[in-house]
């Protein structure tokens, strides 16, 4: 998940979080020209700190989302910008659509950049540190248990189908599957608890340290100033 770019060593998790927060605040807090500035900020940060963000633009649904914001707005009414015959494109609609698309694109780039460059365990570590202790541990358990539980689910489903489940009394069948799944999951959970106890592993641990980059503090301060400047436009 982490990139091997040069910016990685200079910008740590707090710096990347500051980038995301700055773009979201600039985009959400502004309208009109401010949305364009928020998009400019998102583009500059993506280029400088998290280039994998641009991968998000390769996804077809990102463009569908932007089209869904822009196209209906063109027919909003008001002063016509241009058009032929009965088809009239609205000038206020064009402005509104452009503003909405700029805001959405800015947030999309910032969120994709954050997700592509910050490992989920680091996010869990942040949550651990800020009021949700043990969540990183629970997430680790979930990641490890996911394939096992998916296999259990598939086996239970196949066994149930082979025994003629779902032919009648479907709600009861769903309930029986759920009971089997939960009972199996709990058995596996108890194995994990026993193994953790045997290794002397307790949940009362210090949360993992947050890795600060060299320029995180300066970056956060600069971004705060930029966001305030955008708001004051």
């Amino acid at each position: 998940m982490m990139t091997a770019s040069g910016a990685h060593a200079l910008v740590g998790i707090p710096g990347r979080f500051a980038c995301l927060a700055a773009v979201v605040l600039a985009a959400v807090g502004g309208s009109g020209r401010r949305a364009a500035w928020a998009l400019a900020l998102a583009l500059v940060l993506a280029l400088a700190c998290h280039r994998p963000a641009f991968r998000a633009l390769r996804a077809g649904y990102a463009w569908i989302m932007l089209a869904l914001l822009l196209v209906p707005a063109l027919f909003l009414g008001g002063e016509p910008a241009c058009g032929a015959g009965p088809l009239r494109l609205s000038l206020p609609g064009l402005a509104l659509g452009a503003e909405m698309s700029a805001r959405a694109l800015a947030i999309l780039l910032a969120a994709a950049g954050f997700a592509a460059t910050v490992p989920v365990v680091a996010v869990a570590g942040l949550l651990d540190r800020f009021g949700l202790p043990g969540l990183g541990f629970a997430l680790g358990i979930a990641v490890n248990m996911l394939p096992v539980l998916q296999e259990t689910t598939a086996t239970t489903w196949r066994a149930f189908r082979q025994r003629g489940g779902f032919r009648r009394r479907r709600l009861r069948s769903v309930r029986l599957i759920l009971v089997t799944l939960v009972a199996e999951a709990l058995r596996k959970a108890e194995d994990v608890v026993a193994a953790a106890h045997a290794r002397g592993f307790g949940a009362a641990r210090h949360p993992p340290a947050v890795s600060w980059g060299r320029y995180d503090a300066a970056l956060a301060a600069t971004l705060a100033a930029i966001v305030i400047a955008i708001w004051m436009l």
């Binding site: 009021g131 202790p133 358990i141 990641v143 939960v182 999951a185 709990l186 058995r187 953790a196």
Partner: protein
């Protein structure tokens, strides 16, 4: 929110169950283009989370299961899942609040499921307003007006359709809560393991 080792393991396991459901059932439902796939998925997820709340009877455990599921979703899909992640966390938070208010009993679970499943009705409007601004509401309103003119419908028909949609979500949520209580009790009897924090 501080949980013991066993509670954290249970939270992880129920988060994995919900996350696995999102990955497998969610992908299948969306690929098959089944109507109300989101509602089915949210109901199934809420059932799992509420069963988890039964086995970890501590304040905040349902929310923690939701947060783990949301993070798992980000981990498995990679980026651009902000909207479903937010939906999972908010649904869990709503259900947690209702269970805290109504207590861990059948009626509390039914109420929690029903109220939590109202969120998917308003979720797209709220997230899109957050992302694209309030202008998106004006655009949607104009689109709905245009559609109603085109279909020759009156405002009453729209209100009736919205009411049916809302009742459908409430009913699905209530069913999820009831199923969670019944299945959870049966699983507790079968394993003899109701968590004592």
């Amino acid at each position: 929110m501080r949980f013991g080792l066993r509670s954290l393991v249970y939270i992880g396991v129920f988060g994995a169950l919900w996350g696995g459901l999102e990955a497998t059932l969610g992908a299948a439902l969306h690929a098959l283009g089944i109507p109300f796939a989101g509602l089915l998925l949210a109901s199934a997820g809420m059932t799992i989370a509420l069963i988890g709340r039964l086995f970890v009877p501590r304040a905040g455990s349902l929310l923690a299961i939701g947060v783990v599921t949301a993070l798992l979703k980000a981990f498995s899909v990679g980026g651009l899942v902000f909207s479903p992640m937010l939906a999972i966390v908010v649904e869990s938070a709503i259900a947690e609040a209702v269970v805290l208010a109504a207590g861990i009993r059948r009626a509390g679970f039914v109420a929690a499921g029903a109220v939590a499943l109202v969120w998917p009705v308003v979720h797209p409007l709220i997230t899109q307003t957050l992302i694209a601004g309030r202008g998106v509401l004006a655009v949607y309103l104009e689109m709905v007006r245009g559609l109603m003119r085109w279909l020759g419908l009156e405002a009453g028909a729209l209100a009736a359709a919205l009411a049916v949609f809302l009742v459908l979500h409430l009913s699905a949520g209530a069913l999820a809560g009831w199923l969670a209580w019944e299945a959870g009790q049966s699983a507790a009897r079968r394993t003899g393991r109701v968590e004592s924090a």
